[in-house]
Amino acid sequence: MDKNALRKNKRPKKIKAYQIVFIALVYLFLYMPIFSVILYSFNVNSDNLTFKGFTLSWYSSVLKGDPLWSNMWLSIELALVAMVISVVIGTLATIGMYRYDFKLKKYINGLLYIPLVIPELVIGLASLSTFSKMGMDMGFATLVFAHVTFCVPFVIITLRARIADFDRSVEEAAMDLGANGWRTLWRVTLPMLAPGIFAGALMSITLSIDDVIISYFVSGAGQITFPVKVYGMIRGKVTTDVYVISTIVIVSIVVLFLAYMLVKKIWNKHHQN
């Protein structure tokens, strides 16, 4: 391990000015539309086809209450529920498939790859037609079913990459020191997987909250997620409250992220002393 790290430790290479410019341009490309969304959240003009000038009035009206919040909360709720289910069953499955060998394993593996490789559109319409054939009404339940289905594989594959780097003897060491299978899982396997579980959870939320295609097929009249609501507006007029709420979300995420980094930094410093 140590030797490997040493070998792979790349000396800082010189990066040329034009390369930095290139990187910056790519990020500009990635973030330009986001700046545009933020800019339009201050737009005086309500038709949003042109930008006329700055106002904060949209923010005050959105913060007082806006029907779109219910769609946003639904999206967040859905993302969290789907994440919890995906992480729980996905983590168990990853460990089970890592520890044991059984005949059906390769078929389950095959199933896992379907959501990764088949266009979401197909999964969406397949879910819709099956759910309606089974007589289910489209709503929160069908959304959860479909979201977990495409989140679970990502959780499992993220975790699997981590578990593959495991030193198998670490689990054996726990057993050797008197921990049985479940105690080993609780005290050693899960804590070691924690960063992977965290990454998988983040991945699951990210995919779920951004999803339009599958949600579009399986959401019902009363239960419309934020992205699906936006899709409904997109060919006509996008109302400014959409921009406002999105801006609030992205700013919150950035703030949360910075806070996390800060806490981590303080924590590390504290621990070194």
């Binding site: 792979k8 790349k10 800082p12 010189k14 990066i15 390369q19 290139f22 990187i23 790519v26 990635l30 973030y31 330009m32 539309p33 986001i34 545009s36 086809l49 930008f51 069953i89 996905g90 499955a93 089970g96 520890r99 044991y100 060998d101 059984f102 059906l104 389950i108 199933l111 379907i114 990764l116 490789v117 088949i118 266009p119 979401e120 559109l121 197909v122 319409l125 397949a126 879910s127 037609s129 099956t130 054939k133 479909a146 977990v148 289905t149 679970v152 990502f154 990459a161 299978g181 909250i209 951004d210 339009v212 295609i213 934020f226 936006v230 997109i234 060919r235 959409v242 999105s246 950035v254």
Partner: protein
């Protein structure tokens, strides 16, 4: 791996793997099979399907109108891949030259936009690019152009939207591949007399090929089905495979035809994966 299975191990396997297996069978495998079945059914009078088996839907797919749309979609998907690759490869390469903490921060920045809905980001582009949008306003006010540039609602705009939406999926596998590259291989190649260019062709490119393939697949496949990009950027004038399927299912209520197109999409996917499985691992696609 334990070979001798007693009842306790069986129970453990069932508890651990069972829930995921059951979930995937119920909500993934059965729906996929059902779609294939629908594609052979007859369209119901009021939408839905009637259980009369026919090949009608498949005959329709091969009509010249639909074939040209299919072809156009494939070309668009190829173009999207090519542009993403050409930008993403040097981008990932340059990123790898940065110090570790900077590059991992920048990597997070690639994922961050996903927290603003994809549709809205596309709408952000249309706010910039449309005739009365930010770009044209600025250019006209600066006196560079006199009449607005027609960018939105063209095939070019759809391509831009596609590249924008799927670019991160090209970057991430490439980054993984490039970060795995052993620096001493490059040094060895140069030591043995290969120029930088030759080193790239003979050492770097073959080593990063799995990343290139993984990225290509992750861009190619979803771009075949992403109907909303054409909706926003093409403004309804551009019709691609994804739009047809979506319309058949939700507006024209012709489920069998939509399902048949889906099967076509699945077949494209399987063909691409067949090639891919020879060079890379499916796990790299996550």
């Amino acid at each position: 791996m334990k070979k001798i299975k007693n009842n306790k191990t069986r129970l453990s396997i069932l508890i651990m793997v069972g829930p995921t297996a059951l979930w995937l069978i119920l909500f993934l495998l059965i729906p996929m099979i059902y779609v294939v079945y629908i594609s052979f059914c007859t369209r119901g009078t009021f939408g839905g399907v009637e259980n009369v088996l026919t090949l009608d839907s498949y005959r329709k797919i091969f009509s010249s109108l639909y074939m040209s749309v299919t072809l156009k979609s494939l070309v668009m998907a190829f173009e999207t891949c090519a542009i993403c690759l050409v930008i993403a490869y040097p981008f990932a390469w340059f990123l790898s030259k940065l110090p570790k903490n900077v590059s991992s921060f920048l990597q997070l920045l690639i994922m961050l936009p996903f927290w603003v809905n994809g549709l809205l980001r596309l709408n952000g582009w249309s706010n910039i690019l449309r005739d009365s949008g930010l770009l044209n306003t600025v250019l006209i006010n600066l006196g560079i152009i006199s009449s607005p540039l027609k960018i939105m609602y063209t095939d070019g705009a759809v391509l831009l939207g596609m590249v924008y939406c799927f670019f991160p999926f090209m970057v991430l596998p490439l980054q993984t591949s490039i970060s795995k590259l052993d620096q001493s291989l490059i040094e060895a190649s140069m030591d043995l007399g290969a120029t930088k260019r030759r080193t790239f062709m003979r050492v770097v490119l073959p080593q990063t090929l799995p990343g290139i393939f993984a990225g290509t697949i992750q861009v190619f496949i979803p771009s075949l089905g992403a109907f909303f990009v054409a909706d926003v950027m093409g403004g309804g004038s551009s019709v691609y495979l994804g739009n047809i399927i979506q319309e058949q299912f939700l507006k024209a209520r012709n489920w069998p035809l939509g399902a048949a197109f889906s099967v076509l999409l699945i077949i494209f996917t399987l063909v691409v994966l067949k090639f891919y499985s020879k060079v890379g691992s499916l796990d790299d696609l996550a």
